[in-house]
């Protein structure tokens, strides 16, 4: 069907090629002068249409209202206040979420303290491990349901929540389960001890995955937790609470308090919390750091980023294009380590731009529950407005806008895949974190210049390098001031690999053996 439509278009088309052969979706030209690479254009354009392939959400049971999870039970907030959780893909209300105030947070911390003193710090590490394994297994069993909920609540594509987020959630629990009874091997010659009650505040871009990154190592190390999900994406966290109940995790070991800034502040300010872990914006991270300064609380922060993604002339360009696309458009660009500053070596600049333009024209933006969708909904209206205003500032400052002309759904919050050329390092669009599907493209001539430009940012979370030359990879990677550097790939995550930032991207590592350290004291 696709082929015949394409052929028809080709024969009726105005271009001068005598024959257009369609093989397997690719066009090849015969009896025609070769078209210079820089003039070649996509022949299928917007004719490459897909039938809808929506993932059924009929078996997902959302509650009308989600209460707080304190001491192993679901309890109504003392304020009796609830706020709406919206599906960003259609602006429909999904459920009501409890708003926890300082009193509720205090209840949660009290429960966590009691569980720490009476149960969790006394239980053998081997048993701790088995609880975490159980949680991992139940997540695997309920993975499809969780993926659909994650997509409905946060707007990310089902392709991603099904194939990336939820499998990684289970993998994190599984991985850290194994550490629970091996802590002495992780730090030979030291005596690792749990810290106590941990307060954890997580963002909305990977709701359940961030909960797993936070909970799994904290619990494996023997701490108890008060977790605050982001206000726009609390639903899967509350279903995780049900999973914890099903796994028979002792009451109070994990408490989940939902709410906005006020709830988060109450967690940060609570005097009986021993350690805080925050993932979110650099702005809020700085406020938390100030708040915690001078107290006994330990702190780790995983904050914003403005990652440099460097394409050398000797890079495998087609793979690099895929890497660039995955680096910035994955999860609508709501990724703290997104490769949002593209640095292209001048010799391949025009090729990269042309291929990138062609490639983003094929990205499908729309219903996140559709299995073919590449880019889902922007998480919230304020975020969409922020993306728009930053792109606007880029255009006003002289950058050239390149945007896919793909149709956007009428309802919901959507933004097309976008990149800006003629960006200079001083533009806001090159310095500030957009947290959307927006790429700023700049050029460089020498490796030294690439390194200097890449490091010219207050952030330092991640970076990417594309080159076929191995020695260049090591040279560049060692000079990059970033916590994670991907070479010839991008946005690869694994529970065994530590993740975290330099400079204003925060401190502390999550994942791997190193990810245990924030949750232990070593005597």
């Amino acid at each position: 069907m696709k082929n015949s439509r394409l052929s028809k278009k080709s024969s009726n088309g105005s271009h001068a090629l005598s024959t257009t052969i369609v093989t397997n979706g690719h066009l090849t030209h015969r009896d025609a002068k070769p078209v210079p690479a820089n003039q070649r254009q996509l022949k299928f354009g917007n004719k490459w249409s897909y039938a809808p392939a929506p993932e059924s959400n009929s078996f997902v049971q959302l509650q009308k209202r989600y209460d707080l999870f304190i001491n192993g039970k679901f309890v109504t907030p003392t304020s009796k206040k609830y706020f709406d959780s919206i599906n960003p893909a259609n602006e429909n209300k999904l459920a009501e979420i409890a708003a926890a105030n300082a009193h509720d947070v205090n209840q949660a911390v009290t429960a966590a303290r009691r569980a720490y003193e009476k149960v969790w710090s006394k239980i053998s590490p081997r048993e701790r491990a088995k609880y975490l394994y159980r949680i991992a297994r139940i997540i695997q069993e309920k993975s499809r349901e969780l993926a659909i909920m994650e997509t409905m609540d946060g707007g990310k594509t089902i392709k991603e929540s099904r194939d990336v987020d939820i499998p990684l959630v289970a993998a994190h629990f599984f991985y850290y389960a194994g550490w629970a009874d091996k802590l002495n091997y992780a730090f030979p010659g030291r005596t690792p001890r749990s810290i106590g009650v941990v307060g954890q505040i997580i963002p909305w871009n990977f709701p359940l995955l961030m909960a797993a990154w936070k909970l799994a190592p904290a619990l494996a190390c023997g701490n108890t937790v008060v977790l605050k999900p982001a206000e726009t994406t609390s639903i899967t966290a509350m279903h995780l609470a049900q999973i914890l109940q099903e796994a028979e995790l002792p009451d109070g070991v994990v408490n989940i308090v939902t709410g906005a800034g006020e709830t988060g502040r109450a967690v940060v300010e609570h005097s009986d919390i021993n350690k805080l872990a925050f993932t979110g914006s650099t702005e809020v991270g700085k406020l938390i750091a100030k708040q915690v300064a001078g107290t006994k609380k330990k702190l780790t922060l995983e904050l914003g980023g403005k990652a440099a993604h460097i394409i050398f002339e000797d890079a495998p360009i087609d793979q690099a294009i895929e890497g660039i696309v995955g680096g910035i458009y994955f999860n609508q660009g709501h990724v703290c380590c997104a490769g949002s500053r593209l640095l292209v070596q001048e010799g391949v600049y025009s090729t990269v731009i042309r291929k990138l333009r062609d490639r983003i024209a094929t990205l499908r933006v729309g219903d996140p529950l559709d299995k073919n969708t590449d880019i889902g909904a922007i998480n919230s209206k304020p975020q969409l407005e922020k993306i728009r205003s930053l792109v606007q500032s880029g255009v006003e400052e002289g950058a050239k806008l390149e945007q896919s002309s793909c149709p956007l759904p009428r309802r919901g919050y959507f933004y097309p895949p976008t990149f800006l050329t003629d960006v200079t390092a001083s533009h806001r669009i090159a310095r500030e974190e957009v947290f959307g599907p927006v790429l700023s493209v700049m050029t460089f001539r020498t490796p030294e210049e690439a390194i200097e430009r890449a490091n010219n940012t207050p952030y330092g979370l991640s970076a990417g390098v594309w080159t076929d030359k191995g020695s260049k990879i090591f040279k560049i990677v060692n000079k990059m001031r970033a916590g994670v550097v991907w070479a010839n790939t991008y946005n690869k995550f694994d529970p065994t690999s530590p993740f975290g930032g330099y400079k204003e991207s925060g401190f502390g590592r999550e994942g791997g053996l190193q990810g245990l350290l924030p949750y232990l004291t070593l005597d």
Partner: protein, 256 residues
């Protein structure tokens, strides 16, 4: 019918315990068997008496399985070992009965051993994706080259199991060898072979691919020299008897 079933004279149906090679249950090519005796010397059942050829078949199966098993992600191996613990948990009672009947331990001792075995599988499941971070290193060499050390599985391992305890050491040896990607030939105890052969049935329903774990029974003294001299066996673990140990070392020394 009813009277026949409830009659005290009803005969039990006895099981033929076979070898476990390449994921299949096979009889020894020799056609020989040895009696599996209870602690008090009563003949419980017969088990196969594996020969040099059976051992060779096991090596072939283990070698064939090695490539795929070692290539799996550590996470997958970890999950498969955990799956084995799940299967053992559900068939706990069967192993308890086998230990009691075979080795004459008390019920509480048998329960303890099986429980420990389950937890040990869980424990080693966790090591698959962790040991390389502890023992691997990036080495700070002085010249400008990149240098790192990493652990690799050795290949096919033959492990001679001790008589007692009849289950726990078998599970420990199996888990420690296969968690990193090795494949193993377990040579069961001559005196108490039944628990490990019964455990083979758990392995075969646990997602461990065929050939990754192979189990032989028979006379240790007959198999030890074959194991030592086989050119495609990369490592031998735990010869429990000193006499055999010397024999094994002498043989193996010829191969170095």
């Amino acid at each position: 019918m009813a009277t026949l079933l409830s009659s005290p004279k009803r005969l039990d149906v006895h099981k033929t315990y076979k070898l476990f090679i390449g994921g299949k249950y096979v009889r020894s090519e020799s056609g020989h068997s040895i009696p599996a005796l209870s602690e008090k010397g009563k003949v419980l059942d017969n088990v196969c008496r594996a020969t040099r050829k059976d051992f060779r078949d096991a090596v072939v199966a283990a070698r064939a399985a090695f490539g795929g098993w070692a290539k799996n992600s550590a996470y997958l191996r970890s999950q498969i070992l955990y799956r084995t613990a799940e299967m053992l948990q559900n068939r706990r009672e069967e192993l308890i009965q086998e230990l009691i009947r075979s080795t004459g331990v008390t019920r509480s001792q048998a329960e303890k051993e099986v429980t420990l075995s389950i937890d040990r599988l869980v424990y080693f499941a966790g090591w698959s994706d962790k040991y390389t971070q502890i023992f691997g290193s990036v080495n700070p060499v002085a010249s400008s080259h990149f240098n790192f050390s990493t652990l690799e599985p050795t290949g096919v391992v033959a492990a001679f199991l001790p008589d007692l305890p009849a289950l726990l050491p078998a599970i420990t040896l199996m888990a420690t060898t296969i968690l990193s990607g090795n494949t193993v030939i377990l040579i069961g105890s001559e005196r108490y072979p039944l628990p490990i052969v019964t455990f083979a049935e758990i392995i075969s329903t646990s997602d461990i691919p065929g050939g990754v774990v192979n189990i032989l029974t028979g006379k240790r003294s007959e198999l030890v020299s074959h194991a030592a001299s086989h050119m495609d066996v990369n490592a031998i673990v735990n010869a429990p008897e000193f006499r055999n140990c010397i024999k094994l070392c002498m043989k193996a020394a010829c191969l170095i």
